[in-house]
Symmetry: C2
Subunit: 208 residues, 2 copies
Amino acid sequence: MSQKPTGDAPAVTTDWELKRQHILRCAAEVFLRRGYERGTTKEVAQLAGLSQPSIYHYVGSKADLLSALAEHAGRVLSDGLDEAIASTDEPVDRLKAIIRNFIMGQIENIGAWTLYWEEHHSIPAATALTMNTSKARFVHRIDDVVKQCQQCGALPDDTPSGILTEIMLGAIANIYRWYRNDGRYPDEQIVTGAYSLFGLTKVGTSDE
Amino acid sequence: MSQKPTGDAPAVTTDWELKRQHILRCAAEVFLRRGYERGTTKEVAQLAGLSQPSIYHYVGSKADLLSALAEHAGRVLSDGLDEAIASTDEPVDRLKAIIRNFIMGQIENIGAWTLYWEEHHSIPAATALTMNTSKARFVHRIDDVVKQCQQCGALPDDTPSGILTEIMLGAIANIYRWYRNDGRYPDEQIVTGAYSLFGLTKVGTSDE
DNA sequence: CCTACCGATCGGTAGG
DNA sequence: CCTACCGATCGGTAGG
């Protein structure tokens, strides 16, 4: 078990916590390069400048590393959704804010995001369960906005909202697979490209 | 090494070949349920009704199983692309045919397709290399059609074709993650939903 | 935070 | 196509 140090320390970033996060970053790098199963705790330790057993002072098991990383990715996305929904009342603008935040949050955190998808069958069952319910809630909240966009004519209403939602979210969730940090496709252009493709350019003050 | 039986047998399906394909199907099931690394050759053998070492009469290594499955998924998709391109000269109809074949090919072969994505960092380097070049060619050919659709006004031309192509293909490549075989979303509705969302409903005989 | 080490798993081979 | 088995890897613990 990880040996969280004594006391009821508040949100203070202790030395222990800082080192733990350093190890997490190293684990992300190893798992990304080699995959979770092939990547060893020894490699993580080496990258962090520790012996392999020392990792267990900061983490209860190898699987904990992956859980922590996946949960972090989920938290970033979920926070972005809250912010987007709070930013405006107008459905189309809201959907556009959701798309923007989703894309940006993914790109800023592309490592954890990639791990969440590529290694999700190695995520411990307990973590996977809570993350799946979070994800279902996430999709459902967005689906509500999509329905409103259909009502005001900004999205086609000849298709169930669920299909549109999944296609749009799928397109965005997949960006990590082709995104390159070389400036070929600037982030902003990806966002506005998604708006254009989904027909979300004009404001949705329905006049049809 | 796998012991392909004697002779210069043509495309005849020998007993050996039939059993090999049976083992491949079992491997797909095991790898899907457990992941490639966690799934063992023993589990594959049990499911196929063999002892673990017997698998090596049909396959050179555990990794060969994954290679064969991934290559099969790639071939199905590539064939679908050829067919779609051959089906018509008109860019918008061509893009729609591509989307339809991509979606249908993926759904018909959802197991191999899932493995290709979820386990692609376990695919042997040699196989991965050739598949990556095939994939690049695949994307490039579709990008040409997308460019034509932009020129005739069927797709927005304020965004580089590459972004549109990647977003559309990403949306489709991701369907396996939410597709359920319970009829909630009929295949045909997914296809037409994609058309609608991407604004491909009207024929592209440009009159703008 | 380290050295030493254990226990278990698993892919693949030998040899028939 | 099987039994027997090897070699190597690796997560985690002991004990300091």
